[in-house]
Amino acid sequence: MTLEAIAAIIASGLVSGSLYALMASGLSLVWGTLRMFNFAHGVLVMIGAYSGWYISDRGGLAKVLQPLGKKITKNSEDWGLMGDILYPLGEWILSIKSGFGLGIGVPLAIVFCGIAGYVIYVLLVKPFVGKPNADLIVIITTIAGASFIQNGVQVIFGPRYKKLDRILEGRPLEVLDTAIGLQEVLIIVLTPVTLLLLHFFLKLSKLGLAIRAVAQNDDFARLVGINVNQIYPQTFVVSSMLAGLAGLMLGGLFFILPTMGSEPLLRAFVVVVFGGLGSLPGTIVGSYVIGLIEQSSAYVFSLYWAPVVLFATLILVLIFRPRGLMGGKES
């Protein structure tokens, strides 16, 4: 194996590892506090990408608004005072013909994902919290919801694939004779920063502390005065925003389509089990390990053998460490 091949494998392994880390850390947070798996997590990735595209791209919201802008500027003279007030609005709408751009699209998409996550929680999870077999029921409801949303998006946005603009344009970075796109570099750098922020959020903020408290001992959390039923949706929102960020990154690399989250979700589940259920450090280490294993086996064997190698590794790890790489003891 040449040096440049190794560099290429590491780069692409880090990129997929980053995406898995963002997704799996959200899954792990929700599992930690609610003891439930959210199978609509992949859909939230997709929602992140679609809403980012819809807001930022000229083919999205801006295009839909254009007729309205035209109507306002054309007719405002007939509307008297109302028209004078509305005219600047119409002009502004016409001026955003080329979309709102990623600067607005990315943060808004993340916020929107948080809201979508909250709605998913209220509709698909909350009714079953505290009921017997809630974990199994929620698997079914979130799978059903995911399928519903996927097909809804297909109906609304049509079958044509979308693509997000690259955040960073320009010549790829040369590392050891391997060209790495700037978008990829951005993902590799931004993910650890995000995870570090997540770490400080969990360690220092009141909500973060409460989320960890509920994950470690929900009865004791109630007894110190934490409103656990409020922490559940808040955890869900944080997790959804992380999924949204993953979707925005994915949307800059590959095509955006309604099922884009399904494959990464499967990998993220593998990562969560591999790293150790409920362990955030394990999940993050697991993400990068899985990313690197996947990419190197795709290079050494072939793309089709990559999943085989991946699951073989998973099985091996679980044989020797049944609770995953960093899974805790049975409580």
Partner: protein
């Protein structure tokens, strides 16, 4: 009267563990509950603090009916239930555990002085501040659990089996600390198997048997040890 339980019945599923139990605690009083295992003491506490719903009956705190209220609301009112010492946030440091004890507090005022109070009572916790709770010894864990309870500025502090599984010397240390807490004016209910410990702390004792109060005594010096032994182990022949 600060706290009152009236004809309370609760349990798990179809099984009643607490059966129309009544007791009361006056302001500033220290009351002990004892009785054999599996007779409903912990279930009573879990119902009082709102962790499990009551099937019937009333829990009244400061003249307010708190039956079936959310646990976090009950904590906010100043009724704090310290569960057995193995109930902590195991992967958090001593400091984080104590900080979470102030979660229900509306202001940060008095937070620092609360830390000082807890450290004065349990100097060992100060030494172990950055250590994870799961790495503490049993006695230290119990101290931490009580410390977390104190951080919430209780008006009624309920301790569940503070002495369970502890070495006699640590038990003594703990009993002294509990006595100091009571002397500082906190009303207290202490649940324990160790009647001697309760006799040292409390002014009044309830014996809980088969889910209800089978004996109440205000004159703790008159408690007949032989009688209690009989209740636990049956008649010795």
């Amino acid at each position: 009267m600060l706290f009152q339980v009236e004809n309370l019945t609760s349990g798990y599923g179809k099984i009643d563990v607490v059966r129309s139990l009544s007791l009361h605690v006056d302001e500033g009083e220290r009351v002990g509950l004892f009785g054999p295992n599996g007779h409903g003491k912990t279930t009573l506490l879990r119902t009082v603090s709102g962790l499990i719903p009551a099937k019937s009956g009333l829990v009244v705190f400061r003249g307010e009916d708190i039956t079936g209220a959310d646990p976090h609301k009950i904590v906010k009112k100043g009724l704090i239930h310290v569960p057995q010492g193995n109930q902590l946030f195991p992967e958090m440091t001593v400091q984080e555990n104590l900080t979470l004890g102030t979660f229900a507090a509306r202001t940060d005022k008095g937070k620092a002085s609360n830390f000082e109070k807890v450290f004065a009572l349990f100097p060992r916790l100060k030494e172990r501040l950055s250590q994870r709770a799961q790495t503490l010894s049993g006695g230290e864990r119990q101290m931490l659990a009580i410390g977390v309870g104190l951080m919430g500025m209780p008006e009624l502090l309920i301790l569940d089996e503070p002495s369970v599984g502890l070495a006699p010397i640590i038990k003594e240390e703990l009993a002294r600390a509990i006595g100091e807490i009571a002397d500082s004016g906190v009303t207290m209910i202490v649940v324990d198997q160790d009647v001697e410990l309760l006799l040292g702390i409390c002014e009044r004792l309830y014996l809980i048997e088969k889910g209800s109060v089978s004996l109440e005594t205000t004159d703790v010096s008159q408690v007949n040890q032989a009688e209690i032994l009989e209740m636990y182990f049956g008649k010795v022949t």
